[in-house]
Symmetry: C2
Subunit: 141 residues, 2 copies
């Protein structure tokens, strides 16, 4: 079970818009050929990123441009924007038997630890900004 590639696609898309946007018109076709997916997938991604206020997309004339400061966009923001996980990361079996001492208390015993694990992951994602990625990318390019 893996976290959907919508996430890495969205990060790739943002990097393209923020870094290459000065030089090229960032159409869904352009980005799609960089990411190597169908342009419609990119349009869906752009639509989410736009709804989150990160970018602007021009209908008709075409092209996506940055709106939000790259320092104010974390990987966690992107992660939530493209709905990688809704609510709990861990799927819990439903309806454990309340007649059984284990079934009755399994949530009380386990929930907080699962939440801690999820929080640890999310905090790591919060610690990285798009600006961080851009700095590293500019060195490599």
């Amino acid at each position: 079970m893996k976290i959907t590639s919508r996430f890495t696609v969205a990060v790739h898309t943002l990097l393209a818009v923020y870094v290459l946007g000065k030089e090229y018109k960032m159409t869904s076709d352009f980005i799609a050929s960089s990411v190597n997916v169908n342009p419609v997938v990119i349009r869906r991604t752009l639509s989410s990123l736009k709804a989150a206020g990160m970018i602007e997309v021009k209908a008709g004339s075409g092209g996506a441009t940055p709106i939000k400061d790259a320092d104010d966009i974390t990987l966690y923001d992107v992660y939530t924007t493209v709905d990688c996980v809704e609510g709990n990361l861990f799927n819990f079996h439903e309806n454990p038997n309340p007649e059984c001492p284990v079934g009755k208390n399994i949530h009380a015993v386990l929930d907080s630890h699962l939440a801690d694990a999820q929080t640890a992951l999310e905090n790591e994602l919060k610690s990285v900004t798009l600006a961080d990625l851009m700095k590293r990318l500019n060195i490599l390019m």
Copy 2:
């Protein structure tokens, strides 16, 4: 996208075997009625836990019993045992375009951060043992 409930089912199963095993014969039917899933699901779970050396399962006569010390079983051990995630937690889009400066470097820029997030989650799971859960459960029961 969520992590399969096989994980919480396996933890529930282990707690049942370790805590209730002294008092009852822990058959797949018994555990299944506590977890509230089909007995075959529990047999598959028991099979994995047995392969990991945590428990013993008696074919024919029936019943599962603890083998490994509860202090030596972490949530992470269970997590890997039931194959919640194989390899990377994050799905990466395949074949980003190497002709594009972003596509060429996206892995170099992103991989380490994704790995860090995954490690943070796994470390949290490593910090909790079955014995910890049993202590808490014994207080509640």
